[in-house]
């Protein structure tokens, strides 16, 4: 069966169906990772987007029961050059096509993904649509799609009710945290499971709260530290979370990841701007200005912090992207708050930044004493 990808600039390309039948729309973005499609497809930060994978062979090792980063498929559509029909890996339980069909996700394969990537690189991200109904339906959907920046995606991906995560995974929220050395609150704007897994492996019990939680509600859990999570959408829309972060600064150690970095920066008065086509992949070099080292990082963000807006706020820029010089990390030294724009939890991507989990746990342990 044929499927069509249309862009808001009028481009329509024909491919073959992958996943469910129907029509879907979203912001078309590309990811340059060569592995990790399952993690990407379940990462809440891709909500509202259609993800195009630049690596041409996707689905080679199938989909397994372990590598989920949330309970559902988050992007609204998928674009690949070739989806593997008969995957091979000892953990694989189903093919990409079976997985997408099971979850009702509309996708397309057999298109020139490199040509589309170059289009996005040159023109910037744009709205697009995938449809199995026909080229006209795809184009109409792409043109009618609601602009990405006008939607509050955090509200759709955050947890509805608080839950707890410990060494064995999800825990009852009222269970006494006997084994946990440290108690952390995570404000969920689109958490990935691997953040919770990494903290749990270091003895942390995490209480995950909805993004609407106020500072008082956070403090009521008597946390040793607070995590500002990654998440989708325009960070400038998140006034409520920014206010919560502002109210928490100086009261508990804070650590922000990705969107959490943008929230912390806004909390001290900084501003964000939209990147032309974002950073999505597993190969982004980041320079640490404090020790001069460069680390390869996993990234997924479409907005960045304007470094000029941080001047005079007390926030110090500690890390920069080697490719384009954008802000990759800041710290508020006196207030015990730090944040990074990339993903130390990897999943997908390199494990080179795991030290940030240890560092924050050490801080929380000191705060707990």
């Amino acid at each position: 069966m044929k499927a069509y990808l249309a862009l808001s600039d009028g481009t329509v390309v024909e491919g073959r169906r992958l996943g469910a039948e129907g029509t879907t729309d979203g912001e078309l973005v590309f990811n340059t990772g060569m592995t990790g499609y399952q993690e990407v497809l379940t990462d809440p930060s891709y909500a509202g987007q259609i993800v195009l994978f630049t690596y041409p062979l996707i689905g080679n090792y199938g989909v397994n029961d372990d590598d989920f980063e949330s309970d559902r498929v988050q992007p609204r559509g998928v674009v690949v050059r070739e989806a593997c029909e008969a995957p091979s890996n000892w953990r694989s339980t189903r093919s990409l096509d079976e997985f997408l069909r099971e979850r009702g996700v509309v996708a397309v394969q057999g298109v020139d993904t490199r040509a589309l990537t170059k289009r996005i690189r040159d023109a910037g991200v744009m709205t697009g649509a995938v449809s199995t109904l026909g080229p006209d339906e795809a184009l109409a959907a792409a043109r009618a799609a609601r602009p990405y920046d006008d939607t509050d995606f955090v509200a759709s991906v955050t947890t509805r009710a608080p839950y707890a995560w410990g060494r064995a995974g999800r825990e009852a929220i009222d269970q006494p945290a006997a084994s946990a050395k440290v108690k952390m609150v995570a404000i969920d704007c689109g958490l990935k499971f691997n953040i919770l897994r990494r903290f749990a492996s270091l003895g942390v019990r995490t209480i995950v709260l909805p993004a609407t939680a106020t500072a008082d509600e956070v403090m009521a859990w008597e946390p040793d530290g607070v995590l500002l999570s990654p998440g989708p959408g325009d960070p400038a829309r998140l006034e409520g979370v920014v206010r919560t972060a502002r109210d928490l600064i100086g009261r508990r150690p804070l650590f922000g990841i990705c969107l959490g970095n943008q929230i912390l920066c806004q909390a001290v008065g900084g501003r964000t701007f939209k990147l032309k086509f974002g950073h999505r992949g597993a190969n982004h070099p980041v320079k640490d200005l404090l020790d001069g080292s460069v680390t390869i990082t996993s990234q997924n963000h479409g907005y960045a912090v304007d470094p000029d807006s941080l001047v005079g706020t007390g926030a110090e820029v500690t890390q920069l992207n080697v490719n384009d010089g954008t802000v990759e990390g800041i710290r508020l030294e006196r207030e015990d708050a730090t944040s990074i724009q990339y993903h130390p939890e990897a999943a997908p991507g390199p494990w080179d930044s795991r030290k940030y989990f240890r560092a924050f746990v050490d801080k929380m342990e000191r705060a707990a004493r």
């Binding site: 592995t35 630049t54 690596y55 062979l57 070739e82 008969a86 091979s88 460069v294 999943a347």
Partner: protein, 529 residues
């Protein structure tokens, strides 16, 4: 420091693919770019690196301590770069150092230091280091005499791998299946090893073989240039294996678990430059073993350079003179730095080229001693197309995965012929065709996997190729009828605009070469097929 001596690789022998000439030439140019005067010693005039424009001064002399000392005495270089001439250059540099010649003339050894090289190449030191950093290595025994060998004949598990230390391309090694074979191969290996040392190792036949090309600078920044997966599972020398880049059957967790191990290893060895890490991966679990580390540019790094566009030898040479990865420009994009990891948006297939057509009586069985004398590399957007392109590039009789008959096969014997089964189980230069033939005759992927241990992913692709065009099976990408276009190898999967015109042909819609030619009509276009 002004003047640098580079040791070339000498004669190109069986077990090499001219990679050291490729690397050495890049390195000489890279050092001159940095303003150094480059003096080259090489015994082989039939190389690119001895061309006049590569180095400032070229000595075509035997690669011996005696001649090298005379060159040093005459040229008085400030530094010596030994890690780009393969094992020959490394062995010579370590002799020069051990005999006090470098010290006498005040020559600084650049790049990875000799003790790091020793730690990587001396099996015992390497294993001790791996234990220290908690990286798993297969059970093994070091043997330094015939009597030690004799004592182990009834101890080691069979099949067992014999690896002589300090030899080129694994000369003298092999898999042995009995105590008689071990006695014979082991004694031969002891004679061939420069240090009269061999290692016996638990066989990991059938495990996946995966390699990582890693780089580290003097400040400790580490990156991986790419990883590669061998189509032939463990048991065949990687130089004799069909290799794909990037890996195809590893999940993200597996890919990064092994990448992480490779980085821990290059850190522990304190490599300054490039390094190749070979790993064996259990196809049914997260278990893996570190097999071997090459603390220098190698055949694999030359392949990785061509596969990704990332010039490993060029960058390694700059690291050797003190630059950090972040200070070195990515010569392909010219807009990013060498401190990043290439993202591929294509598949690379390498097939070794063996000389058996010139040595009809030669033993065609492949094992841990490399027999290939060259290789072809093909790039395309699908595995099928890249594999078929590589087969055509081999310039052998077969133009594709044509029908093939094992020697001694009785044509009336039917599909389950023992000869074909043997051809699947025993790797030879013709195994690819044997795999295709079995699948053509209707053997199941599971059965071919059971006999050959080749991953089902590759087998299903080969099955697709042999079925293509037959009734009920759609044509495959390898046969695409769409017009051919040229796509660029740009190290970044299209994310950044790039300026090096390095292209491959493929059946797609958009042509990258056209836009480059429009912009720079005089640009030289290097295209593969």
């Amino acid at each position: 420091m002004k003047k640098i001596l580079v040791i070339g690789s000498g004669p190109i022998v069986i077990g090499q693919a001219a990679e050291f000439d490729y690397a050495g030439t890049q390195a000489c140019k890279s050092l001159r770019e940095e303003g150094y005067e480059v003096v080259l010693v090489n015994s082989n005039p039939a190389t690119i690196m001895t061309d006049e424009e590569t180095a400032d001064r070229v000595y075509i002399e035997p690669l011996t301590v005696e001649f090298c000392e005379r060159v040093i005495a005459r040229e008085r270089p400030d530094g010596l770069l030994p890690t780009l001439g393969g094992q020959t250059g490394l062995n010579l540099a370590s002799q020069l150092a051990e005999q006090g010649i470098l010290e006498r003339y005040g020559v600084r050894l650049l790049g990875t230091q000799l003790d790091a090289i020793r730690k990587a190449e001396d099996r015992e030191l390497f294993r001790a280091l791996m234990r220290e950093i908690k990286q798993p290595v297969p059970e093994s025994w070091i043997v330094e005499s015939d009597s030690e060998l004799e004592a182990l004949l009834d101890v080691v598990p069979y099949p067992c791998i014999v690896r002589p230390a300090y030899t080129l391309g694994g000369t003298g090694g092999g898999v042995v299946y009995s105590r008689e074979e071990l006695w014979e191969t082991g004694r031969k290996g002891l004679k061939l090893s420069m240090r009269s040392q061999i290692m016996l190792e638990r066989s990991l036949l059938g495990w996946k073989e995966v390699e990582y090309e890693v780089m580290r600078d003097g400040k400790g920044n580490c990156i991986t240039v790419c990883n590669m997966e061998n189509l032939d599972p463990m048991g065949v020398h990687t130089g004799d294996s069909i290799v794909v880049a990037p890996s195809q059957t590893l999940s993200d967790v597996e890919y990064h678990m092994l990448r992480n191990a490779s980085l821990r290893i290059i850190e522990a060895l304190k490599i300054e430059g490039g390094c190749n890490v070979q790993l064996a991966v259990n196809p049914d679990s997260f278990d893996y073993y570190v097999i071997e580390v090459n603390p220098r540019v190698s055949r694999s790094s030359a392949l990785a350079s061509k596969a990704t566009g990332y010039p490993i030898a060029r960058v390694a040479a700059k690291i050797a003179v003190g630059k950090t990865l972040e200070q070195i420009e990515n010569a392909v994009t010219k807009t990013t730095k060498a401190c990043f990891e290439p993202a591929l948006d294509y598949v690379v297939v390498k097939i070794p080229r063996w000389p058996f057509d010139k040595f009809p009586g030669g033993d065609r069985r492949l094992s841990t001693q490399m027999k290939a004398t060259g290789e072809v590399m093909a790039i395309d957007r699908t595995f099928e197309a890249a594999l078929l392109k590589a087969v055509r590039g081999l310039e052998v009789k077969a133009k594709g995965l044509d029908s093939w008959h094992p020697q001694g096969e009785d044509s009336t014997n039917g599909d389950a012929s023992d000869a074909l089964r043997a051809a699947l189980a025993q790797p030879t230069d013709e195994r690819l065709w044997a795999l295709a033939e079995a699948l053509r005759r209707g053997w199941s992927v599971e059965e071919v996997n059971r006999v050959s241990r080749v991953d089902p992913w590759f087998l299903r692709k080969i099955q697709g190729i042999v079925r293509a065009g037959s009734p009920g099976h759609p044509r495959q990408d390898g046969d695409a009828t769409e017009g051919s276009v040229y796509k660029m190898v740009d190290t970044c999967a299209g994310e950044f605009e790039s300026f090096t015109p390095y292209f491959y042909a493929t059946a797609e819609s958009e042509d990258d070469a056209a836009t480059v030619l429009e912009r720079r009509p005089a640009a030289a276009v290097v295209a593969m097929e």
